[in-house]
């Protein structure tokens, strides 16, 4: 089956995220008062041929651990759908 994969990679909580800070500052400057705790990460979308959603998720987890995210600095969330 063809599985649609969506991976979200975010900087770990507690690590300084200068991009997030810059975006938060810009939002505040534009008058969007109340925007806080802005973090900037990455979204990675692709399709994957796999036996099942469970098998696809296991494969994507390995992709994240080896390449798509750096475990020292980033956390990831995987979504798979048919």
């Amino acid at each position: 089956m063809t599985v649609h994969v969506h991976v979200r990679v975010m900087p770990r909580p507690g690590l300084l995220d200068p991009q997030g800070q810059a975006v938060e500052h810009a939002l505040t400057s534009l008058g969007f008062a109340g925007a806080a705790a802005v973090r900037v990460g990455k979204a990675i979308d692709f399709t994957l041929e796999a036996e099942s959603l469970v098998a696809a998720e296991a494969m994507v987890r390995e992709m994240c651990e080896r390449l798509l995210a750096n475990p020292v600095t980033e956390d990831f969330v995987i979504e798979v759908s048919s």
Binding site: P18, Q19, N70
Partner: protein, 234 residues
């Protein structure tokens, strides 16, 4: 004469001056393509600065899987000399040959300027000809040089004396001493044995008096001394 392989990845841009610095220090330099799978008998390896694979995904994240990296890893694991300069440091961290990671500079901007760094450790493959505690001024040029590691790793690096270079404040300097927000002002580290070293500053860019200073020259004479010594011992 000891030979050092300089690896060129797609997007490397400091390989020429790195090779010049090796030759100036009395060594032989050979340029190796990232698609090679052997070091062809080179005594040492340098991963040079630049923007391998355009820094896509994360700096060094894709270069670490280049074909040549298995040979680099094997060389490191057998006690061979491996140095990563700037992007090369990022590659070594991504390859887990060194701990930690290099993140976006805290000021969000690319920083290209001289910095003052203190030689914190002489027992490495490339700092033995400096005095411990010696402060030298060499350039940095990076957007992602903020060294981070978890608390335990940082504590271990300090306790095991594995910080090789540290950004320091010097009287009269006109910019913040830490250019990127690195934890503990760390500019460079080594592995436990001291044969794998990575740092963000560029000694190869200031290794000839023609440029007004050769403060970085001794990284390369230290390396050549080590490689010639190792060859004589073997």
């Amino acid at each position: 004469m000891a030979c050092v392989a300089v690896i060129r990845f797609p997007g490397s841009n400091c390989e020429t001056e790195t090779m010049s610095a090796i030759v100036r220090a009395g060594g032989e330099a050979t340029l190796l393509d990232y698609r090679e799978t052997s070091l062809h008998g080179a005594d040492g390896v340098i991963l040079p600065g630049g923007f391998s694979y355009g820094d896509y995904l994360r700096s060094g994240a894709i270069a670490r899987f280049a074909p040549i990296m298995d040979a680099v890893r094997s060389h490191a694991e057998h006690g061979g000399a491996v140095i990563g300069i700037c992007n090369g440091f990022q590659v070594l961290c991504e390859a887990h040959l060194l701990p930690g990671a290099l993140m976006r500079n805290d000021g969000q901007r690319f920083v290209s300027r001289p910095v003052d760094v203190r030689i914190e450790r002489r027992q490495t493959i490339c700092t033995s000809e400096y005095a411990e505690g010696e402060v030298i001024r060499i350039p940095v040029a990076h957007g992602e040089g903020r060294f981070v590691a978890d608390r335990e790793t940082l504590a271990a690096l300090e306790a095991e004396h594995r910080v090789v270079l540290r950004y320091v404040a010097v009287a009269g300097a006109d910019a913040p001493h830490n250019p990127n927000g690195s934890a503990n002002d760390i500019a460079g580290i080594c592995n436990a044995a001291g044969n794998v070293v990575g740092f963000m500053p560029h000694p190869e860019r200031l290794a000839d008096q023609t440029l007004g200073s050769d403060a970085g020259h001794r990284f390369f004479t230290s390396l050549m001394g080590r490689l010639v010594g190792a060859g004589a011992a073997a």
